[in-house]
Amino acid sequence: MYDVLIIGAGVVGCAAAMELSKYKLSVCVVEKESDVCEGTSKANSAIVHAGFDAKPGTLKAKLNVQGSKMMPIFAKKLDFAYKQNGAMVLCFDKADLPKLDELKQRADLNGVDGVSVITGDEARKLEPSLTDEVCGALLAETSAIVCPFEMTLAFAESALQNGAEFKLSTKVESIEKNDNGFSVSTTNGILDAKIIINAAGVYADKIHSLVSSKPMRITPRRGEYLLMDKAAGGVVSHTVFQLPTKMGKGILVTPTVHGNLLAGPTAENIDDKEDLATTKGGLDEVKAKGALSVKNIPFGKVITSFSGLRAVGDTGDFIIRESDVKGFIDAAAIESPGLSSAPAIAEYLCGIVAKLMPLEKKENYIDTRKGVTHFNSLSENEQNELIKKDPSYGKIVCRCETITEGEILDAINRPLGATTLDGVKRRTRAGMGRCQAGFCSPTTMALIAEKLGIKIEDVRKNGVYAERRQDHE
């Protein structure tokens, strides 16, 4: 019997597990995929929003602003990439300029510092690649970019090292409410828990309806993105948003924390919770809208395109509360700014749990975590010391991103380690460069095959291995 069972190992589930692992509780996270960060958390804009956009008084506003302030501290303690690069919201039509002032007022009401309205020329002075059509902008200095994979992994690994359990490749099939709490049937056996946190992303409505008769509807909203080569990463230094125009909702153009250039997303409500396909129309829309903001975006340097699904609820706000079923807590409809809010959502969830059972702090909580060593970011001296200690760091496997065999082995062998090519990619960036794993995938596949004791052709890009249990304690 667990005290708390968290369904979903996305950024919200993992952050909640980390937060709860500070207390003397037994916590377990179940995830239907074979890795953490396999849903909405892996395909988004990777922005830590400043918090000026959300409607004042909403949970979105409150948790975004809190989360944004917590993020740099977590990034440092838990070793994930984060950079405060600032953001701009661009205005292309003088008639729309008052909307910038409205955003500024929202920022003030939400308690966001460092926000100001600037002219088009001032914006171009800060970002010389902006188009001449820009006639004004909102500047938000505290906006930041982050690595969403590392962030989610950092929360998960921190939770694990503080005693939380993870059951991956474990799909929840039904939930039964009983006197002690819940009995949860999964593809990995029955799990009992006093409290459930539903952090199932686009599936949160399905999980919710397993116990509650009150309706909830989560609509997957697909967003398509184009990712460009690092050679294009310097086109802008700020994250550049748009006010809505006659072409509809704007898209953003931003550097990523690792130095690529990202443009997107589109916004299209779809029915299929698994449909991550990109479309010609969607990608063309990203190109057309991106060109409004930034001159000469080098779309010839696209290295990959992808889609993500936002979990959009029907209230306009996050749904984070104990449901009508006692002990069953929803953390649902976590669309943007969900990534930015995740650490604050976790604290908020902890507050809800505290009302249901007494929480007592652990004495030996470890509040730091060390991620995979990124060889490329070390000094030459540090690199040489590492190679001396472990010669596998002297072997480059991924040429484009200069990722060593040592890093890949670390990603595979560490707790909650990678079992798929995408898992290695998210932990190390091997395969994320301009050749998109053409050269490194055979080597990476061979290393995974050896670790798992399977044939190389059976190594998966992502997804669940049949008959392979993945419990991490």
Partner: protein
């Protein structure tokens, strides 16, 4: 210990040929750096035959061809270091020395120095992302060369029902290879109205196995969540845009991409070498020397070749020229003539010639921009025609190699144009 006359980056066919000829020309203090665990580069995974007809007058497999050069490297005691990757090349300010930063388990991260450097890093495949094919991103989509490595080196069994996009040579070779592995290759789709592979590969790898080549077709959608389930192939119009209504569904578990090779010039760019946007390789002169004195480029990193024999020949020249540079220095006294690609010619290598440095026999290599039948290749400088050569057919997939004697260049003052001329009635 870390100073060399010549460092050769890459131990594939280009690097080995360059090293062997530099050694022959009198350079003893040289070093080959190879990132893989064996010499030979991409040839090691090319287990089919058809290599070496020009160089050795016999038909060899890729590994056999590589082994012949590796034997020469060992016989001539040319030092080489494996599993060693070059991270940066830089010309030192105020000196002609080049700094080469390397990483290996043995050396750690270290900087080596050389009087001359030959860039011979080869090329890589254009990945799916760069092709902008919409659809989902399931398992089962590989570039043809990656698939070739998985099948031929790692012994993986990739799939049973295969579609190939792009008719580059590796794609054609893999169509046959997958068939021999027991898979069914449903089709090879090619965006252009002509194949980008060699004629002999189309005959031997597709026709002989009854595999259809769909010209002016492309993949417009990819289906399958975790694993590939199928692709939609559509016909394209003369602007290469898919024609609505022509989509046809091909169920498959494997999609191979053979849509172009890109010279791998990250080091080159980092060193400050000027790149020719037409080839994605360095801009070189008659000596295959880049704009940085003492830095040479050859093989697929310079421009993508279709025959390894041409790579070896070109690289041997780079080795010789590097030796000459090391032993005698540069001679800038001659006249520099630009070599211009004009009507029907996409690019030329070299793109400039210093007449004082010409050899007895000089090569101009190029590819045509489209299919040309019954035409003349013309090389001209002002009013002087250096060469006129009839050709029954010229295709973009086959590199043209022109050889001009030194005396042809005597007294030339005007830039050199290379172009295709329709043969008059």
């Amino acid at each position: 210990m870390n100073e060399f006359d010549l460092i050769i980056i890459g131990g594939g066919p280009a690097g080995m040929a360059a090293a062997v000829s530099a050694k022959k020309a009198g350079i003893d203090d040289l070093l080959i750096l190879e990132r893989d665990s064996v010499l030979g580069g991409i040839l090691n995974q090319c287990i089919h035959n058809g290599f070496g007809l020009h160089t050795f007058k016999e038909e060899l497999t890729g590994p056999e061809y590589a082994e012949k050069y590796a034997d020469m490297v060992r016989e001539q005691q040319i030092p080489f270091e494996l599993e060693t990757m070059v991270l940066a090349v830089e010309k030192l300010a105020g000196s002609n020395k080049k700094a080469v930063t390397v990483i290996s388990s043995m050396r750690g991260v270290q900087t080596l120095y050389a009087k001359a450097v030959i860039l011979a890093m080869g090329c890589r495949e254009r990945p799916r992302g760069a092709l902008n094919i919409p659809g989902s991103r399931p398992q089962g989509v590989y570039t043809a060369g990656t698939a070739q490595k998985l099948v031929n080196i790692e012994g993986a069994k990739l799939g049973r029902e295969v579609v190939i996009l792009g008719s580059g040579d590796i794609g054609l070779i893999m169509a046959r290879r997958m068939t021999l592995e027991g898979a069914h290759v449903a089709a090879v789709a090619e965006l252009m109205p002509y194949s980008s592979g060699l004629k002999r590969n189309i005959v031997q790898c597709l026709d002989d196995y009854g595999i259809p080549l769909l010209l002016s077709h492309t993949v417009v959608d990819i289906k399958g969540k975790d694993k590939l389930e199928g692709v939609y192939i559509a016909k394209v119009d003369e602007k290469n845009q898919p024609i609505k209504g022509t989509e046809e569904y091909y169920p498959c578990d494997t999609l191979l991409l053979s849509c172009g090779l890109i010279p791998e010039n990250e080091l080159t760019v980092g060193a400050g070498v000027e790149i020719d946007p037409r080839t994605n390789g360095a801009i070189v002169n008659e000596s295959l020397e880049t704009n940085i004195e003492g830095v040479f480029s050859c093989g697929n990193v310079l421009h993508v070749h279709d025959l390894v024999d041409f790579v070896s020949e070109e690289s041997a020249r780079a080795g010789e020229n590097a030796a000459k540079y090391i032993l005698k220095g540069s001679d800038h006294s001659g006249k520099v003539l630009a070599v211009k690609a004009e009507n029907g010619v996409r690019y030329t290598v070299p793109s400039k010639i210093n007449t004082v440095n010409l050899s007895e026999l000089n090569h101009i290599r190029f590819r045509v921009t489209g299919v040309y039948k019954n035409v003349s290749i013309v090389v001209r400088s002002g009013e002087t025609e250096l060469l006129r050569k009839r050709s029954q057919i010229l295709v973009p997939s086959e590199m043209v190699d022109l050889i001009l004697k030194k005396d042809k260049f005597d007294g030339l003052n005007d830039d050199i144009s290379v172009f295709i001329e329709e043969v008059g009635q």
